[in-house]
């Protein structure tokens, strides 16, 4: 485990007490509603807040007892909610600010490559106030990466952006996901964002860790609030099988069957993540012959759980070695006489690639 620690912080009525064990690679989302302590925990990891406890990153003690490594000595990158570019510096000098403060021998990123990765080449000579919100946030991300971090911390980098800017920046974040070989901790309160970007999830509630684990497991656990949210979703890991360039459709292999999705062509074998909302999964007992729903996967019911809504049930479906959740009415479950262990067919009314 590359990031581990126990951190405590008291601020007035709020008390944070979190134990963390984060994986070495990939994106960990700190997820919870506002006030749950996500940002505070992230600031504690960075050293911007001084909590009690210990913290170790890549085998280095960042905090232990009275030892507290100051922020500027921690090899981290931090992306704030607002881009917070230095207004007195052009984009180029904003980017170089952290870059030139890292000794040349310790730099692990290339300036031009990073600028290209975030698509900010054309902005280098501009002043921050002449950029759009999405552009600023891209510059801020590039600036953080150029400091050669061993841990990237991102505090809801898309929260202050409008929908268009979010759509603009998401592909860059996904690119980071595949390019970076360092752990990323990403604070968010948007489930869709987490389902698209995260691999590992830490669920926070009132300053405490409610649950932590791989994203696909936590999303479908009926004892956690995630699976009961209105936009609750499961994710399936899939690979591109074939493409139809004319119809802009691709076929995916996801363990137990084949999925068709509208998507521009992608090379065969490309791993893709498909998120399927619980309200979009329809259960039928026989394979539907006369339905407009294209995607149908054989599944087995692994759990039937109560939903906070009195008329709804949450059904967990096992598909190969993956899991989907479906929200159906109690009435429907009664009519179909659904029981745990029963083989059924899961029709996906909608599936989004992420």
């Amino acid at each position: 485990m590359s990031v581990s620690g126990t951190l405590r912080l008291k601020r007035g009525d709020f008390e944070l007490e979190a134990e963390l064990e984060l994986p070495e690679r990939g994106v960990t989302a700190l997820f919870g509603r506002s006030g749950s302590g996500k940002t505070t925990l992230l600031r504690c990891l960075a050293g911007l807040e001084r909590g009690e406890g210990w913290l170790s990153v890549n085998g280095c003690r960042w905090q232990h007892g009275r030892h507290f490594l100051p922020v500027h000595r921690r090899p981290l990158g931090y992306v704030f909610q607002e881009a917070s570019l230095f207004p007195h510096l052009r984009v180029r000098d904003n980017l170089r600010y952290g870059y030139r403060r890292v000794a040349a021998g310790q730099r692990r990123v290339d300036f031009d490559e990073t600028v290209h990765l975030l698509g900010v080449e054309a902005l280098l000579d501009r002043h921050p106030h002449a950029l759009s919100g999405g552009q600023r946030q891209r510059v801020a991300i590039a600036r953080a990466l150029l400091a050669s971090p061993r841990l990237l911390l991102m505090d809801e980098p898309m929260a202050s952006l409008d929908a268009a800017s979010k759509a603009e920046i998401l592909p860059y974040l996904e690119r980071l996901h595949t390019h970076l070989e360092i752990p990323v901790v990403y604070v968010s309160h948007a489930l869709e964002e987490v389902a698209r970007l995260a691999d590992y999830l830490v669920l926070l509630e009132a300053g405490r860790v409610l649950a932590a684990g791989p994203l696909h497991e936590l999303l479908v656990r009926s004892d956690l609030p995630l699976s009961h949210a209105d936009n609750a979703a499961a994710v399936l890991e899939a690979r591109v099988l074939e493409c139809d360039a004319v119809q802009q459709v691709i076929a995916l292999e996801c363990g137990a069957g084949r999925l068709w999705l509208s998507h521009p062509p992608a090379p065969t074998g490309t791993p893709l993540r498909v998120s399927v909302k619980a309200r979009d999964v329809v259960i039928s007992l026989t394979p539907p012959q006369d339905s407009s729903v294209l995607n149908c996967l054989p599944a087995r019911i692994s759990e039937i759980a109560d939903d906070p809504h009195p008329g709804h049930l949450l059904v967990r479906l096992t598909i190969g070695d993956q899991t989907l959740i479906s929200r159906i009415t109690r009435e429907a479950a009664k009519r179909l006489a659904l029981v745990v262990g029963q083989p059924v067919y899961a029709q996906l009314r909608g599936a989004a690639l992420s």
Binding site: V71, S84, L85, F86, P87
Partner: protein, 230 residues
Amino acid sequence: MLGLTSSDWEALRLTLRLALISTGLLLVLCLPLAWWLAHTQRRIKVVIEALVALPLVLPPTVIGFYLLILLGPRGVVGGTLERLGVGHLAFTFTGLVIGSMIYSLPFVVQPLQNAFQAMGRRPLEVAATLRAGPFDRLLSVVLPLSRQGLLTAAVLSFAHTLGEFGVLLMIGGGIPGQTQVASIAIYSHVEALDYASAHRLSLFLMLVAFTLLTCIYALNRRFKVVGVMP
């Protein structure tokens, strides 16, 4: 030259030196004070703020009077210095510097405090996450981002010292060549009923002050920076 006597020039030189030294020292010393005032949550802040603002409302003679007592041979500070063999500070240039610094204190602290408050902590946090240590952050972030506040503080302090009279007369005594600044020299000319000399020096001082301020405001207009982070 310009009909000014050599003692007039001496007084002007002294004024300029006093204004430069006290402004420079004030800027350095007020940086940490203004930073603390801008960010502290402690209740004692209001007391310190009131103390800093005191020279705005007190008659300069009051400040000068207490300074004279404090820095003189029998005062706490002057007496101690005397015993250490340094000599007391009444009627000395050092005394003048201390007096004009105290008198101009609010004119430096307040613009700096406002600049720091407008800047907030975020730029510093960002700089720290980008590997900048404390002193580095001061030079690369705090000073450039608060340069308007710094300029305002410097101009106000400098101009205020040029026009100072009461404090300097009390603490310095107006000894020609030593503590007689321009404003006191004008007063002496008037007392001696030498209105023509008073007039020349006054007009000269007015022109200098006006030119200086015009230059500085022109500079400020050109180098204005956005005060908030985008």
